[in-house]
Symmetry: C2
Subunit: 219 residues, 2 copies
C-alpha cells in the first residue's frame, strides 16, 4: 500500500502513527504542495479531493480522508473497539477533532510557526487561541476522567481516537499554546510516544521539543 503524504502534515501523521503501532509496511510517497503536486492531473485522477493523506491500495482503489483510512486499517484490531457505544465515542472524538480541535490549532501552527506571517497579538490569532484552549480544556477533562491508565474513548487499549487527537495536540506549543496547563493531556501524549512502534513526525531525527518550532527542520 502507498500512503500519499506531505512532510509536515498532521493528518498524515495520524495514519503513520497507526501503521507504526500495527507494524504495517506503508510506502510513503511524499508530495510537495509548493511544487503543485496536489494539482497534478495524474494525482487528481487518483485523488479528486486533491489532498493528503490518501491510501492507494494499488488495485485501483484509493481512499482519502484520515478518519476513513484509520477506520479501514484499524477495524479488525484493538485500535477499533468492539463495543458499539465505544465505537460511537471514538467517532465522536474524531469529529470533535475535525471540527473544533484541529482547525484552530492547525491555523495557529501555520501562521505562527510555519509561515510566520502573522503577529501573535492580532485579534484573529487571539480568537483562534481562545478556540484552541477551549478544545484542549474539553480534551483535558476527558483525559483526566479517564485516569492514568485509560484512553480518550476506551479503557484498556488506545483507539484511533487517541491517534486522531495526537498530532495537533502535540503541535499546540508551535502555535503559542503551552501544554503545562493540561497535565492529563501531557501525560497522555507521553504515554503514546513511549509505545512500541511510535513514529516521530520526522523519522531519523530527534523528536522535536514540544516548545520548539519544526520550521528548523528542512522539509
Amino acid at each position: 500500500m502507498i500512503l500519499y503524504d506531505t512532510p509536515r502534515s498532521g493528518n498524515v501523521w495520524k495514519v503513520r502513527l497507526l501503521a507504526g503501532f500495527l507494524g504495517l509496511p506503508l510506502r510513503r510517497r511524499t508530495l510537495s504542495i509548493d511544487r503543485g503536486d496536489l494539482r497534478d492531473p495524474a494525482f487528481l485522477q487518483k485523488v479528486p479531493f486533491a489532498q493528503v493523506p490518501a491510501l492507494d491500495l494499488e488495485d485501483g482503489r484509493v481512499l482519502p480522508e484520515s478518519a476513513a483510512i484509520l477506520h479501514f486499517l484499524a477495524r479488525d484490531t484493538a485500535w477499533w473497539p468492539a463495543h458499539p457505544f465505544a465505537q460511537a465515542q471514538v467517532l465522536s472524538w474524531m469529529s470533535f477533532e475535525q471540527e473544533r480541535h484541529m482547525p484552530p490549532l492547525a491555523q495557529l501552527r501555520l501562521r505562527l510557526a510555519l509561515h510566520r506571517d502573522t503577529d501573535p497579538g492580532e485579534p484573529r490569532i487571539l480568537s483562534l487561541a481562545a478556540q484552541a484552549r477551549h478544545a484542549l480544556t474539553l480534551l483535558e477533562g476527558q483525559l483526566a476522567a479517564a485516569g492514568s491508565t485509560g484512553w480518550l474513548a476506551t479503557a484498556d487499549h488506545p483507539s484511533i481516537a487517541d491517534l486522531a487527537l495526537y498530532p495537533y495536540t502535540r503541535f499546540a506549543p508551535m502555535g503559542g499554546i503551552a501544554l503545562g496547563a493540561y497535565p492529563a493531556t501531557t501525560a497522555w501524549l507521553d504515554r503514546i510516544r513511549q509505545r512500541l512502534g511510535y513514529q516521530p513526525l520526522f523519522p531519523g531525527r530527534p523528536e522535536m521539543d514540544l516548545a520548539t518550532s519544526e520550521t528548523a527542520c528542512p522539509a
Copy 2:
C-alpha cells in the same frame, strides 16, 4: 431515546432523517440557542461539547456528534454497509462533508438566509460560494458516476453518507447556490425525499422549496 436538537439544525436533520427511515421513535427535545439553552448547566453536564445533535440513551450515556450518532443507530442496518472498503468510503464522504462541504454551505445559509446580515457581493461571501461550488462539483461527479440507481458510497442501498450530505446540499439555494447546474445531485436529493419514512425539516409543513428561504417559517 431523546434527541437534543434546535429547530433549524442541518446536523440534527441528518439524524432525524435516519430515524425516520428506520422507524425509530426518537423524542425530540428542542433547545433555543438564542435563549442560551446550550449554555445551561444541566445541559452542559450532559453534553460538555455544548452542541446538538446529542443522543441521550436515558441510562446516563449521552452521545454528541452527528457522525457518531448516525453510525451508532445504523451499524446493524442496511444504512451501514458490510464491506470494509464501502465502510471506509462512507466515512470518507462524511469527513468531506464535515470539512469542505458543510462549512461554506452553512455559512452562506446563515449569512444570506437566516441572519441576512451580509451583502451577497462581499469578498468573503464570494470566497465561500467558490468553496461551496467546488464541494458540490466533487459531489456531483461522484453521484453522476454512481448513476440513477446508485448512491454516494454504496450501490444497492443508500448509506449514512447520503444522509450526512443531504441537509446542507438541500440548503444550497438558501445560500445563493442554484442546484440546476448539478443534475445528478438534484435527482439524488429527490430520490431521498421520495423514500418511505422521509422526515422534512419542519414536520407538518409543506416541504420548503429549494429556492425559498426557510426564514419565512417561524422557529
